[in-house]
Symmetry: C2
Subunit: 325 residues, 2 copies
Amino acid sequence: MDEPAIDDQRPDLRTATLAEAGEFGLIAALTDRFPSAEHVLVGPGDDAAVLRVRSGHVVVSTDLMVEGRHFRREWAEAGDIGRRAAAQNLSDIAAMGGRATSLTIGLAAPADLPAAWALAFADGFAEECAKVGAVVVGGDITRAEEIVIAVTVLGACTVAPVLRDGARPGDVLALCGRQGWAAGGLAVLTRGFRSPRVLVEAYRRPEPPYAAGPQAAEAGATSMIDVSDGLLSEVGHLAAASGVAIDVRTDALEVAEPLHAVGAALGADPLGFVLTGGDDHALLATFAGADAVPEGWRVIGSVGEGAGVTVDGAPHEGPTGWVHF
Amino acid sequence: MDEPAIDDQRPDLRTATLAEAGEFGLIAALTDRFPSAEHVLVGPGDDAAVLRVRSGHVVVSTDLMVEGRHFRREWAEAGDIGRRAAAQNLSDIAAMGGRATSLTIGLAAPADLPAAWALAFADGFAEECAKVGAVVVGGDITRAEEIVIAVTVLGACTVAPVLRDGARPGDVLALCGRQGWAAGGLAVLTRGFRSPRVLVEAYRRPEPPYAAGPQAAEAGATSMIDVSDGLLSEVGHLAAASGVAIDVRTDALEVAEPLHAVGAALGADPLGFVLTGGDDHALLATFAGADAVPEGWRVIGSVGEGAGVTVDGAPHEGPTGWVHF
């Protein structure tokens, strides 16, 4: 039986749309881009992947990103959107005190999306994963009206996972990582500007402090969360889950110099970016006392009896972060 | 400090839209619906779930469903769409010879989607998962123009996972489960009809033979896949991955009686539903000989040297299954 010479009919993925590339052509090209790892017993291409788990447990989280809502193609290149998609998921594992090992990607996209966009997205995604030694082990692609990216991340902890509900009165609240930078960059982009470049880059390429998650867990953090939607709203999650009150001290927050420039230009309080901005994926954790706070973390508040979040002892007016509906 | 009386402001989820219900209200209502299980160390509500893994490995798969492409709200109730979303993922684990334990759900949906739809979807999803003892351990919700459902399923195998690439010349090809029923039901619905009811129900509520996956693995299946997109296209995946030729014998295929009625009414060959239909999630596997085929499986073809798929010894004309782009 003669086999068709399919090589000759393969579309050029540098210029093809997803429809022209076809599901299987695109999957083959994507799979080629993803490195494997020792723990991957069966990688992409079968009904499911099979991963070795030595720790006796797996930490798992899922996030969605929708075009026009979580990203805009005109505001960031495909590779950077890939980095952000990976970063927000890797950060969820860090926020448990864990290390990510494996991810799956679901990509729903219009038929006319350039295949090159999907490939560049995959490259950026894989690069971000490589920062923590994680790899892509599977996925799905289908047609849709708008781009929806669904990522699931798996990982493991070396000590007990740090939950949101362990903060106790007397604990201190600490922050690790840049905070407010991405929100400043987004505010700039939203108004059609491209500078300060350092903030725009912070939005396009967040640098979550992945290693600080396990570091905090080993240091005995009593609760932890990553700042995805806004500092105050995440502090609110810790307070609600733990059944405590948390006060944030603004004099302890670092307002980066370029945020002052953006605040002046836009007529906004630069502290607002820090208090309500998300997307940097800084880590927030509570510790039993200032002595327990590890290097690289900054004490920004305190935990008390009661409920809710206060800023410098007073209720905060206005939004506390991103609203999904 | 006084706490706001949030209970009084809670929207009625029986009548609210997603936007009115709000992200956190909806998540709380959804989480309440999902039972837990002994292996779930940390369930929904933190940055990630934590699952106990005793087997030393995890089997993982991801699938997307898009409204208008994979389902239509006018063709099936929310609970049935939830069942199908779960079924197609649970089936991927069965096709490795495994048992599913845990799932995450990502739901991107318009702001005006009734919250009741999402809750009914979740109920159906959880019911289907309960068939195999699996539970929902996490998820994400966000706003989008159309409904996109992203599911990731985790599971484990008790014997070595059965891949697609192990079919060898001399093996027999066998099928377990209904095949073509859902395609017949979909053909009926597409044309605006609602009967034969048994086929419409088969489309709305697939009954994948979950237990047949581990059964085949224990019986020494050499390769296995589930029929998601079409019988012949899935046989093609087995043939390509294994580097063999596979012939399907139509006289061995069961063409259910109602498919004859639909074929006659629509002027279509009822065998077409069986050969190219998906969505029933029947299982296809190869075994070293007819003696190795376990009870409940039907031999429908044979594996030989070469490449590609034939039907009764001849190439098949026309589509072999569902095309995603």
